[in-house]
């Protein structure tokens, strides 16, 4: 599949109908999502024929991208039942198989080493402080190959330190810097649109 094709498919997905601000529900745009997964597959081989988990999957954009790039099994985890309903519809539209689990990933303990790669666009921690770190910690416990995650560029040094020192990372690299365009989604948003600098990270867990 070509990048443009992938981006096209992801652009057709349904997004949050009633986003919940306390969960930091923002759609992962097709531009970012397609590039994130395309890089994971083409530069690192972390998607096709692998078991991929999407933490905080929301409406399933990253999950869909993983499925379209031939992951052998994709599982999306999210706390919000409405998003999961939308995600289920999206998977049906694309005719891909994705399992969805409703849970709090930060409280979940997944057994075994089944998951190869975790992909995620976690909350940035603007509503619930430390949420971004909790997601990263949880992902690093679960992935056996790699974790791909988006975090604000302003937190770059902090993330790197935490990943290497506390979350069992063998390596923590910023693959690229992206502009995350946030449309005016919530009432408290003053500007019509705002651009946030985010880093796309790839973390490799140490083997146990």
């Amino acid at each position: 599949m070509k990048l443009k094709q992938l981006e096209g498919f992801l652009g057709d997905l349904q997004q949050f109908s009633n986003p919940k601000v306390e969960l930091e529900q923002y759609p992962t745009g097709p531009h970012i999502a397609s590039r994130m997964l395309f890089t994971a597959e083409n530069s690192y081989g972390d998607i096709s024929d692998k078991v991929v988990a999407d933490f905080g999957c929301g409406c399933g954009t990253l999950s869909a991208a993983a499925a379209l790039l031939d992951a052998s099994c994709v599982i999306g985890f999210d706390v919000d039942p409405q998003s999961l309903e939308t995600a289920t519809l999206n998977a049906e539209e694309l005719e891909v198989e994705i399992d969805f689990v409703q849970c709090d990933v930060t409280k979940l303990e997944l057994k075994g080493q089944v998951v190869d790669t975790v992909v995620m666009n976690p909350p940035f921690g603007t509503r619930k402080k430390g949420a971004d770190m909790e997601f990263l910690s949880a992902a690093m416990k679960v992935a056996s190959r790699a974790v791909y995650s988006l975090h604000k560029t302003s937190t770059r040094e902090h993330i790197k330190r935490a990943a290497l020192r506390d979350f069992n990372a063998k390596s923590a690299e910023v693959i690229c810097e992206l502009r995350y365009d946030l449309p005016k989604l919530y009432k408290f948003h003053k500007r019509k649109e705002v651009d946030i600098a985010v880093d796309l990270w790839r973390f490799e867990p140490r083997q146990n």
Binding site: C73, T88, G112, S137
Partner: protein
């Protein structure tokens, strides 16, 4: 929900020592064919909990998997009979309606439209504490990874989980 997913889920209620595997109460099971990928299955076979899979498949109405996990020769052989059974059990059976039940507490996690609800109630969530030496060995709750880092110089044993 397919059995490949079930194979990684366990009950995380505080105090539960053995929340794996979750028992399946199947009310509605559907079958959906997907492409057979023998290499992937060989790779997966080494990582799954075999007994949990056999039991789960049985609960879903599929009893073709052998009780004992086959040895390497069967997996590596060109004969794909076994791999086809593994494929079917792991990837083609979907639990649409029913429940996942904690083997220790009996707590039911409902499954609706194929999605299991594993959310815990407030009183079921584990609290992580450390013993804060500055406070005369008093247990202090660790709320977040940041807390954990802040406490590591003043606490002994950062891994205590209290019921």
């Amino acid at each position: 929900m397919r059995l490949i997913t079930h194979n990684m889920l366990s009950c995380n209620i505080k105090g539960v020592k053995n929340g794996f595997p979750l028992k399946i109460e199947a009310e509605k099971v559907i079958e959906k064919e997907v492409d057979f990928n023998p290499d992937f299955l060989r790779h997966m076979f080494a990582k799954i909990e075999w007994k949990a899979l056999v039991e789960a498949a049985r609960s879903m109405g599929y009893a073709e998997l052998p009780e004992d996990s086959p040895d390497a020769t069967v997996i590596e052989s060109a004969d794909e009979t076994f791999l086809r059974k593994l494929h079917h059990a792991l990837l083609e059976l979907h639990l649409e309606e029913g429940a996942l039940v904690c083997p220790e507490t009996g707590r039911k996690f409902p499954v609706n439209k194929g999605i299991p609800n594993m959310l815990l109630h407030e009183d079921e969530v584990k609290q992580t504490v450390c013993i804060d030496l500055r406070k005369g060995n008093e247990p202090t709750r660790i709320r977040s990874p940041k807390d954990r880092v802040l406490m590591q110089d003043v606490c002994i044993d950062l891994s205590l989980q209290v019921p």
